[in-house]
Each structure stands twice: as C-alpha cells, then as structure tokens.
Symmetry: D2
C-alpha cells in the first residue's frame, strides 16, 4: 500500500474505532477544517511571521491535514491526483513567463 493510502487508512480507523462517522458529514468536516485552519492562523496573530511557536504550528497543521484527509476519504479522492490536477490548471493560469520577475503584485496577476 502506498504512503498516502496508508496514512489515510490510519486516520479513518481512528474515526471508526470511536463510532464518530455519524458526526462526519462533509459539511461539518468542512467546518472543522476551517476552524482548525483558523486556530493555526491564530498562532501568528499580532506577531511577525517568524514569531509563531513552532511546536504549536506543528500540532495545528496536523489537525488541518487530519480533516483534509477525512474529507478526501469521504469523497474517495486520491490526494496526489487532485493536487497535481490543480497544479496543472494553475500552471495554465499563471504561466512562468508571465508570472516571473514582473513588478505586478502576486494577487493581481
């Protein structure tokens, strides 16, 4: 079994062992993911980027991955596949020659 499937199987097993699947509809999983991403962001609030506590970043980012994998599992998405599809789409939207070395701000490309 490959590494992504292996990790996702362990995450799913954690849920199953606790009978938590009854709570894990995709809408509430998306809420939970958004809440965890907000908790990660809170580690940077009122601070310079380099001042966040790395041990806490590690834990909150793990929570984000946990819910992201649970959503992927719910829809039976293959994570490397969906990420590569999006990279390919973004590569068309932001071609290197247009995006690189220009003064234009990143968000206005």
């Amino acid at each position: 079994m490959n590494e992504f499937k292996e990790l996702m199987t362990e995450i799913d097993r954690f849920t199953e062992e606790r009978d938590w699947d009854q709570f894990h509809n995709p809408k509430d999983l998306a809420l939970a993911l958004s809440i965890e991403a907000s908790e990660l962001m809170e580690l940077y609030l009122w601070k310079n980027p380099e001042e966040a506590n790395i041990g806490k970043v590690r834990e909150e980012l793990a929570d984000v991955f946990n819910y992201a994998f649970l959503i992927a599992s719910k829809y039976q998405f293959d994570v490397p596949t969906i990420v590569r599809e999006k990279l390919a789409k973004n590569a068309q939207k932001y071609p290197v020659e247009k995006a690189k070395g220009v003064a234009t701000k990143y968000d206005e490309l």
Copy 2:
C-alpha cells in the same frame, strides 16, 4: 523518493519557478490556507451536506492541501510524522472505551 516528498517537491518547484517565495512567509501562508478552507466551506452554505458540487469540492480541497504542504515545507515538517504524532496524542485524549457508544455528544467528550 517517497510519495509525500515527491508531491511536495513539485509544489515547491511551482513556487520557485515563479519567484513567489518572496510572498510566502508563514503568516501569509496561514492566511491563504484559512481563506481556501473558507472557500471550500462556502460550497456547503445554505445546503444539505450532500448537495455540494463534487467537482468544486475537489478543486477547493486541492487548494487547501497545496497551502498546507507549502507550510509543512517551510518548516521542514514530515507530514506523515506530524499527523501520526497528533493521532497518538488524540488517542490518549479520547480512548476508545470512553469515546465509543456513549450518548455524550462528540464535542463534550
């Protein structure tokens, strides 16, 4: 090279080719992750959980993974390791015998 490292290398290369690393401090990456998680959640707004557009869920979830991997890469975290550490911690916090089959609501365990 393993699958996680392989995918993260492709994601990092996308950034490097566009000289976007100058924008990618961890604070703004955490903002971007939170914004993408919110866009995923928006697909469920005013709807029942099963009514979200699956093709759009696929794309927005890919964006979430993209920023989550960029943050992991910034801190040189090994993703399976940090996720497994958190699962082990959660297993102590929510032991199966306490969490399973009880009437207590999930959030009040």
Copy 3:
C-alpha cells in the same frame, strides 16, 4: 452623540487605556475578526442549528462586533452608512421580483 458613535467610542477607549493600538493594524484586526467568527461557528459544529449554547453565542458574537467596530473605527467608516450602501447594492443585484418565490436555490440566483 448617537448610539453607534457612543458604543464605538467606548470600544476605542478600552484599547487606548491599554496601549493596544500598537498591535491593531488593519491586517491583524481582520485576522482577529476572522478568528472570532470561526469561534462563533465552532458553537454549531457537529450540531443541529438550534443546539448551540445561547450564552456562548452571545459572547462570541460580541467579540465579532468588537473587532468589526475596531476596523470601522480605524478607517473612520460610519457603520449605518456602509451597511445601507451595501443593502442598496444588493437590492439591485437581487430584485424582489426575481429573488422571491422562485424555486431557484438562494446561492444560484
């Protein structure tokens, strides 16, 4: 002094008395607002809409208003004015005759 100005003056005074204005740049205030909105949302996680704890909703919503007013104050916006401008704009976007009583889902109007 009108009611909005009065309340906003009290909120600003709270910040000034503690010398917290140095932390309150608009970007971090927007982060703080988003984090508080996420904490409000967490009260509904894994629950039916009517199951949230009303006392906690009251407090978290107050936090949301607190940061929203601090941002309005930072830009010297008059809150009733900006809300009414947006209502007028939305009224053009969603005219009653088009929006009302049709089967179309709210989000696809």
Copy 4:
C-alpha cells in the same frame, strides 16, 4: 426607534421581502459570517496592512456587519448590550494596570 433597531429592521426587511428567512438558520448564518470575514481578510493577503483597497474593505466589512446583525436579530440580542457586557468582562480579565506599558506580549497577558 433607536439607531441600532432601525438599521436591524431594514436588514430584516430585506430578507423578508425575498423569503430568504427559510435559509437563515443560525448555523448557516454563522458560516456566512465566517466566509465574509475571510473575504475581508483576503484583501490583506500577501500585502502590508496599509495596502488593502479601502473601497473593497468598506464593502466586505458591510457584509460582515450584515450577517452579524442577522444573527443578533435571530436571537433577539440587543447589540450595544452584549458588546458592553463583553467589554466589562474583558476589563476584569485585562485590568489597565496589568495590561498597560508592560513588555509582555498582548497575546500572552
């Protein structure tokens, strides 16, 4: 009628005229509020705090107030009252003599 009640009545009327109350359960309103707060935050992404577009900040902040007032209305909260209650609670948590002029970071008080 006071200014808060007047504005909230106009916001509620907008919803009623379109029969949108059927979508406005408190859970989805909290999602909508969080999504709007995220859109406001996006105006600062990859930027210094002073670089956000003020006209857009005005509109997104109005959307945040709109949903915050709809939630307040749903629970029949008096906004100035709940905000003042929270200020009083925070004043006890962060007394001026402890919070002011100390080197301690704001978030660790």
